[in-house]
Amino acid sequence: LDDVSYGTNWLAQAEHGGFYQAVADGTYEKYGLKVTIVQGGPNAANRALLIAGKVDFYMGGQLGDMDGVKSGIPMVGVASIFQKDPQVLMAHPDQGIDSFADLAKADTIFMGNEGYTTYFEWMKKNYEGFKDEQYKPYTFNPAPFIADPKSAQQGYLTSEPYEIEKQAGWAPKVFLLADNGYSPYSTEITAMQKTIDEKPDVVQRFVDASIEGWYNYLYGDNTKANALIKKDNPEMTDGQIAYTIAKLKEYGIVVSGDAEDKGIGCMTDARYKTFFDEMVQIGVEPADLDYKKAYTTQFVCKKVGMDLKK
Amino acid sequence: MATPSSPSARPRRPLVVMENVSKQFSSGTLALSDMSLTVNAGEFVSLLGPSGCGKSTALRIIAGLGDASSGAIDWPASRINARGLPEGDISFVFQEPTLMPWQTVFGNVHLPLKLRGISKSAARSDILATLATVGLQDFADAYPRELSGGMKMRVSIARALVTKPKLLLMDEPFAALDEITRQKLNDDVLRLWHETGITVIFVTHSVYESAYLSNRIVVMKARPGRVHADMPLVTSLSRDAHYRTSEDYRQACETVSNALLEAIGSEEH
């Protein structure tokens, strides 16, 4: 067995379900891999660990990989489990904010740093009325948003809306950025170029096994994976897991677009370029960036595991 | 108990009365035990006694610094303020110089005046004059750390004198001074006492000094501290260089010495 470690971007949760599934049901072992999942978390530095070679794969995103190329870091996305980034913006239901564009009417938008420097730039370029004054930092505590009806807040499709509804008793309006034009690849498997060059078969096996894991997780028996998730993250509840899986399916986060016919994880040059061009347009990435170094399609779109989808 | 001469004829009113004052420190040391002492207005009382007998403690209690464990301090003829001290001016020369290290000599002497709201410039001439009395006119701008031991003590004396107090408490003020300076300051204090009629309580180890300066000498006994002998000292001679060679003076010295020897002897054996 080859030892492989995979650093995620958050605590164990259903959004990582496929990977846990592959660990739990022996798919990785079947592919000759012994996989350790390194949980992320608030402020966790798993990306730095990837760069330093302390983990083999990391749950990256398209923008991050392109930033890597810009900084001369040979990070390469080899698969994108999520076709749509689950990033959302939420608003209070009774404030007359009915479309994404209406968010410009909010007095305040609570966003993390990343959001502010990326999709908020994009929003300012592509929609009318967004301005810097709206930004306030989001520290992963939704209370200020709940307290201020004239505010909006970033969130993760599968998390914040659920918590807010549970706690505050009302369901926020949810706008998926991906459905409104901002759609980077997300929940990628990112590796260093060195790994790809030296152990392409390990990469291929990890990608394939993970994809299988995801099909099994979404469409098969995922109890063992959920048990593993709850073991890694004792706070996780069944309700939350069920909600997440439902939302993943409802919004086609994992299976939509290219993934429908080429399999989970699929990335295409055309779509990659589309997003890159958007970023160039809003000034986040330089036009002369050799963005093709940030990903490779050699490991995906091979219809692996599609037969598992029932 | 020997008295060198009969008590002074003119009646004096008591200024401060210590009544059966005892002082036990929290460490357990009984510094004073049932000490009673009445000091009359206008007296110059010297307090003598073996080292550690409680002289400083007694002085501090009179000044209202540190409460007595039992007994009381009375100021029969004075209106007393919230702190239990008489209105009007008390000055204290502590046994240690007790200067503020962050102030110059001038600033240190200015302190009691500053506390009364007198500005530096208004007090300037007074302060400089007092500094001249103690021979420190050239050191007004020096900091305490730049002074010798005797000079520090002289700053402390200047600080006590600058307010022209009505009651002057001095705890071995001249011990660190050379004899010439000491005699000069002896005479200065004596002149002040004569001219202004202030009351002085003066702790010293020098029998000669006490006999030269005071009109009453109190000798204390140690552990626990209490009054051993209380001797008025009356002489018709004026206190000057001649007095030091007079028979009155010699006799006074002898009496005090004997009382002191008694106080210590009765203690040690």
Partner: protein
Amino acid sequence: MADTSRRPAPQMPHASNRGQKLLPIVIPMGVVAALILIWHVGVIISGVPPYILPSPLAVAGSLYKDWGTLAPALWVTTKITMASLALALIGGVAIAIFLVQSRWIEMAFAPITVILQVTPVVAIAPLILIYAPSTQVALLICAFLVAFFPILSNMVQGLKSVDHNLLNLFDLYGASRWQTLLYLKLPASLPYFMTGLRIGGGLALIAAVVAEFAAGSAGAGSGLAFRLLESQYRLNIPRLFAALFLLSCLGVVIFAITSFISWLALHRWHESSLKREN
């Protein structure tokens, strides 16, 4: 207009000593209890929703209900705090001793300690994580960086504030550097050190929290900081406040202990802990 008055001696100064001994515990508890009451009443009157500011009752409930997760977290945080305090003490005192060896050394190295101090831990935590052999070590390094400076600064000031006369005395008796340090400089700087200790104790706790934020591991072995962030993320505000409450308690206990140590070390001789008797 003479007005006869006397200042009587206070009666029985040593009476009711037993009761007095307990006051340093009873009074702060009372004040804290009063604060909690105000908080409670405030929440009820203002009607602020529990996900913004929960009532003390809700917090107590969460404390009781989640004790199973909070207690181990408290224990983890306590351990990190103690370890980082110990590190900060050793490091702070050692560096301080090194710095005061000569004016040159101080000039040369003081800026480096400042740089260590002001560099935001969150920013260099990833670097530390990469090079530290284990997360635990990384955590301790982070915590140390946060907590050592006040101890260092106080210690430097203390070591430099030694009475020059006593230094002369030690020189005269041919004391070695080491003896002067051990018998003179260290005891003389105790009042400063103790202040540093009191600051350092609180800061070590903060350091443990910050370190966990910055370099913390998740899951079973995680401390209060992580529980706190997690509760916040889950909008479990009562539990967030329960975690905050535990942190505060830990802080107060550390403060009480350090204050007591300080009292023990100083009450026999230093002005700051002595009753004025004369």
